[in-house]
Structures are given as C-alpha cells and as structure tokens.
Amino acid sequence: MDEVSILVGGIAGDGINEAGITISRIFGWLGYHIYMYYDYPSLVKGGHNFAIIRAAGHKIGACSDMVDVVLALNQDTFDLHRARWREQTIVIYDRDKVQATGTTQTSGIPLLQVLQEEGGLPVMRNICMIGGLCQALGIPWSVLEGVLRKHIPKFLDANLRVARRGYDAVSNQSTITPLSDPPLPVLIGNQAIGLGLLRSGLQAYVAYPMTPSSSLLEFMARSAQEFGLQVIHPENEIAVMIMALGFAYMGVKTAVGTSGGGFCLMTEGLGLSGQAELPVVVLMGQRTGPSTGLPTYTSQGDLLFIMNAGQGEFPRLIVAPGDAEEAYYWSGVAMNLAWKYQLPSFILSDKILCEGLYSFDSTAAGDPGDEPPTLWSGDGSYQRYRLTESGVSPLAFPPQLGQVIKSNSYTHDENGITTEDAAIARAFADKLQRKEESLARELDGYETVKVYGQGKTALLCWGSNKGVCVEIANKFGLRVIQPLVLSPFPVKAWEAALQGVDRTIVVECNVTGQLSKLLQQKGYNTDYRILKYDGRPFSLEDLEEEVRKVIA
C-alpha cells in the first residue's frame, strides 16, 4: 500500500480527533504526507464524531469517500459508513459496543476487558484501537511506541499497555511501506496561521471563541508565555476588534480571529480600522450560515461579505490560503502588508482549512519574514495622517517625546483633528484609494495566483478546495487556477493564468457562486459552476463526478 485512508469514529468524548491526530503522526513518522478531515456535530458529549485520515506518498489536501480501515468505537461508526467500505476494508471495532454483522473482514477487541485488566482509563479506548490499526497495517510497534512516548506522556505506561493489547489482538492484514522522506510536522490550518502570524511579528492575539477559529485562540493562549505574546479573550467581538485597534495605535502587531457571526460584530470596528488607518489582521474562518447555520461545518459563503463589510469605502487585503503551507506564508504576508499599508487584512479560511490536519513542509511554505512598516523619520513635527504620494503616512507610536499622535474615526486632517471641510474629505478619500493602488502594485511581486497543470479547461477555485481540485484536475489533464489574493484583485496575474484557457469551471462551497460573481464584476465570465453547500467538503469522488458531467 502506498496510500491509505482510515476512518475512526465514536461519540463526542471518545477522543476521536485526538485518535485521528495520533494516527496522522504515526504516518508522518513513516514518511507519509497526511490530510485529515474531522466531522463532528455541535455538542460536547454523545452524537457521532468521525475523522478520516488519508496518508499518501505525495502532498494531499482532500479525502476520498472510500476507506481502507474503519476503527469503530461505537455502533454508528460501524453502521453509518458502510458505503465507504471496499471489499477488502479492514474493520476493527469495540466488541462491547458494536454488533458487527454482515461482514467478515472484522476484528473485535474487548475494550472494556482490556481497560480493566491493564488499569486503563475510558479515554484510552482509542489508543487500544490504534494499536490494532498498527498491527493490521504492519506498522512496527516501535513507531507506535515512539509516537505515544512523545505525544501522550500522561499515563504513558498504561497507554502503552493498552496499545500493546490492541496491537496483539488483531492479525496483520496488510503492509505499509515506510517512505524515505523525513517526517513532517502535523498541524491544523489554524496552527499554521498562528505560526505564520508569529513569524511576521505578531505581539497580541484577541478573540472571542467561535468555531472554527477557537483552536487558534487555544494555540495562541498556550503559546503566549513562550512567545511573549499578549492573548486576550474579552467580552465580545466588538471589544475584540476595538482592542486590536488600541494595540495597533501603540504599534503592537495584533490579530483577531472569528467566524461569520462574530465578524458581524467586528464590522463596526473594521470601519474604524479603515478610517483611522489602524492595521489589524482578521482570521475569518467560514462556516455554514446564515446566522447560526451549521456551526461545525464548512462553507465559502462569506467572500462577498468580507469584500464589502463596513460602511464607507476603504481598502482591505484578503488572502485565501488553500493548505497549511499557504496558510503559514500568507498569514505572515497579511500581517506585513496590513502594517505596510495601515489597513485591515483578512485571512479568509473555512472550517476545512482551520481544523483540517495537514503535513507541514516549512521549506515549501517559504518565509514571509517580519517586515517593518514605514516609520516616521523623527524630523520636525509629527503628523499622523501626512498626505503622501503612496497614500501611506509614516507611523509613530506613543509615547513620543514632544509629539502628539492623534488617531481619529472622523474624517480628519493630517494632524488627526476632525474636519468637515469638503476639500480635505476628498483628499483623504483619495488617500485611501492611493493606498490600495500601492498595495496592488506591491502584490504584483507575489505569486498571487497559482496555476497547476496546462489544460485548456480550467478549474477555478479558492481556499481549501485547492487540494481536491488539484488532484481531480491532474486526473483529467485540466488546469487549476487558484487566486491566493482576492482583494485587491490581482488582475495581471489572473490574465496570465488564463492564457490558453477556453473553458472555465468554478468550484466553490456556496450556493450562489461568489467567486464567479467576483470574476464577473472584474470582467471575466465563467462557463460552469460546481457548487457544494451542505456543509461538507468535496470528496475526490464528489468532484470527479461533477467534473465528468461538465467535460463529457
């Protein structure tokens, strides 16, 4: 086997996500690239949670519907995913909880008995199952032991005993060949975003918890001491955004994170960021709306909202990374450019990227660096909003001996004093537009549009759909065009990417085709739309079937 998909499922509280991460690390140690999709309803205990871990010899970012191994911690996992079983799918289940009927390729483990005999805790059931998985796939015990020793040091001896029992309870049925690639870190998109922000100088992170952004808040809170980071969880998202702008006024690089509903509250402060030219980076993790929608499921339904959020007209940067490496790099770029141009920048993500688990290759990701903004020279009297050709006024932060630094939400003059003068109002509206032009020029130096393949038919996708699109395009000899920057729209790079294309298919996870609308606004008509809006990501089979219909 050079590629394998494993489904692990149980109820909330069974540690399904943790099991999936552990399995992913095991494959990471074997030199594989992994991708994991984690599916869970919005509850704390009960329900049906499952993770699909796919491991391959090359970079991946999507799952197949079909799986090679099922680890069933409950009956639902056994019953609800039968359509995913191949003839030779291996099913390992908890003999105490699952009635395994209608199949032969099964191994039951008496988990309750194992835990009792080994002095294990209920949360260790998943570890026992992972032991069984390793034996079934011919993964050396030493690898499993190594991963457990490194990542689950708590109750290590009991975990090892329980894992060993699972390992010994199942027969070997297949062989995973270890690959020669060095093991890569395994992380969720939100961690990649966090690391990218930290790389580019993040000093404060402010957020109110909301799926699927909460795991970034957790990661930042855990990293605060180590990185010298200020992390705040305030009363609501209104305070989140305003605190971020207070930090920005003082020269403290800050990011915030949320999803649709929380961002609605932030739009008020977003306008202040635009008007007062206070930089902030916003992680916007999309989930299915409107309103509370499907809280733990994915969507790409907020692109046009983000493009237009806030009253009045002000520039913004929107980057839409499609995997962990892009999340790292472009989060750093979002921070650098927010400060260089003193405006809000968005990392437009979704549940799939935020919470999906990826192998992370830092060399391939590239280094966004920590770029300094344009600072005041210190000569003469400081003017916070000095009018310049680029639209960018040099920055200075309090305390500044002998200087007064005024930030203002009203239309203001160069000193930051409120004005209602018509000529000044016009000059400052023009200033904001000049900043956008300067930003767009700078972005010409970045790879703002990625192209995969050479075909005359192109799949146009953004964000987390990149992984599935690249794989399917590869299969059919199509081209993939993926804009990484959506605002300011990278017109030149888009033109270049479209050279030789005679048919375009937009692939999006929304019901109205928001990228195609955006493209239309920019003068690019698209030919077909493949849209998915049930909260679930495209599987390889989903997209293959839809693409076949179009190109047949």
């Binding site: 093991p183 870190p185 980071l229 006024y249 992370f360 203002n408």
Partner: protein, 283 residues
C-alpha cells in the same frame, strides 16, 4: 484657554454655557499639575467615544484615540496593556458608557484595568439633538419618547461598584475645586477609576438650577468600605429630586489587568528558534 500648550487650534464647537467647558478646563489644569509633578506629557493618552463630550480628543493637544460610539474602554485597555507607563484617560458620554458600550464599562471595571473613565453624564443625547438616555428620569420627554420615557434610570455608580471598579466618584464641575480634586485623584489612582460627572447640556436638558439646589459634597468615612460606598451611591437614584451626593465614594487597591500582561514589549524572545521548537514538537 487657546494659549495653553494643552489646547489645540481646533475651533471649539460647544454651545455657550456647555457643561463640557468645565470638564475641559479641569482636565487641562489637572494635567498641568501632574506634569509639574513629573508626569511626562507624551505618556498621556485621551480616548473618547462619540458625542459632544468626545470633542475633548480634538481640543486637548495630547495623544488621542478618537474612537467610535461606546467603544472607549476596549481601546483604552489595549493602550494600557501595550505600554504600562501610559496614563490613559477615557472621556465617554452617558450614551457611550451606559447604553451603547455598557458591557465594556462593566468589563473594564471587572478587569480593574488601570485607566480613568470620566463620564460626561448630561442625561440627554446632545449630538443627536435630544433623546432620553439610561440616566434620564422616568417620564422624560425626549424626541424618541414624546409621551415620556417608560423606563426608570439605572444608577451607573452602582453598576461600576458592583462590577469591580476600584475608584468610584461623582462630581459636579461648577464646584470647581472639589471636581478638580476628584479628577486628579482618579487619574492618580492605580486601577479602574470612574468619575461620573453631572455635566449639563444647556440646549436640551438644562439642569443647572436643579443641581445647584440638590448637589452636596459628602465624605465617606471609610472609602475602602464597599457597604458605605453603596450606601452613599444609593442616596440618589437619578429619578427622584435628591439630595445628590458628590464626592469620592470608594477607593481600594487591587491588582490590575495590566499586571498580568505577557506582552514581550522589548522583543527579547528569539522567535525563529521558538518557531523551530514548536514545529519539532508537532512531528
């Protein structure tokens, strides 16, 4: 006034007789005093909301963050966390602090963040030309309540006290010396300090005569006593005639939010090394 180094050249737009003048003059005098006592002027930041009061940000020639309606406290909190030496003074109206941004007032007090809140409570919306506010009396006839407000006012000082503010006072600017003392004490207080100001809007709610008749200075015996403070604060409920006590009702010491900051201001952490360590842990 325009000759002061603390006043900008922005033309003043308040109505003649506006209660805001008294606050502006008092703050200017207090800042002059604090500067002469060693406070570096550049360490002062004024944060304002939106309303007639907020023009303080334009008129005072000091660092300022002219925010949006109701949002002074989160901005001020972040400013203080960024640089603990900053002296952060928030000016907010009753619409700002008690309506649009009441949650932020409660949380600023709860955190005991070391900032000062000076609330211009004229008990009417001036900038929007005359509507009732959270502290207008029952039956107040404003433009949005022509038949009279059907809500009783709340007592903002009770809210501040219950939320964790460590300095709670009420002042009346025409009692200039008394008011100046309160403002100065509040700014010097370490922790969240709030001065509720009976500021008069001469155009829409001229209460000068009413306040002159009912206001009286009080001195609580034990400023660190929550019970005494609560008692003094409850003497007037913003609905009845009075008497209306002014003075410092409460002052205690408690660690402020900024004391727990993990911000690495001096950037001493080797970020690249830490990132590599983090990635290694994730293998």
């Amino acid at each position: 006034m325009s000759t002061s180094r603390l006043i900008t050249s922005a033309p003043n737009q308040w109505c003649p007789g506006c209660g805001n003048f008294g606050i502006l003059n008092t703050v200017r005098s207090v800042l002059e005093e604090l500067i002469s006592e060693g406070l570096p002027l550049e360490n002062v930041v004024v944060v304002s909301g939106i309303g007639q009061h907020a023009k303080m940000a334009d008129y005072l020639n000091v660092n300022s963050f002219y925010s949006i309606h109701g949002r002074t406290f989160p901005a001020a909190t972040a400013i203080k966390l960024s640089e603990p030496d900053m002296r952060v003074i928030c000016f907010a109206g009753d619409g700002d602090a008690y309506a649009e941004g009441l949650d932020h007032l409660i949380f600023a007090a709860k955190r005991n963040i070391d900032i000062t809140a000076i609330i211009h409570d004229n008990r009417v919306y001036g900038l929007t030309t005359g509507q009732y506010t959270p502290t207008s009396p029952f039956g107040y006839k404003g433009k949005s309540t022509p038949a009279g407000s059907r809500e009783y006012p709340f007592n903002p000082l009770e809210i501040a006290l219950a939320s964790g503010a460590t300095f709670v006072a009420r002042g009346y600017p025409p009692r200039a010396e008394h008011f100046q003392g309160l403002v100065k004490d509040a700014i010097r207080h370490k922790g969240f300090s709030m001065v509720e100001v009976l500021q008069v809007c001469v155009s829409y709610n001229n209460l000068y005569d009413f306040y002159e008749e009912h206001v009286h200075e009080v001195k609580v015996t034990h400023p660190s006593s929550y019970e005494e403070a609560a008692q003094a604060i409850r003497i007037w409920d913003y609905n009845s005639e009075g008497p209306i006590p002014i003075g410092k009702f409460y002052q205690v010491e408690r660690p402020g939010f900024e004391e727990f900051s993990t911000l690495d201001n001096l950037q001493t952490v080797d970020r690249e090394a830490k990132l590599q360590e983090t990635l290694a842990r994730l293998i």
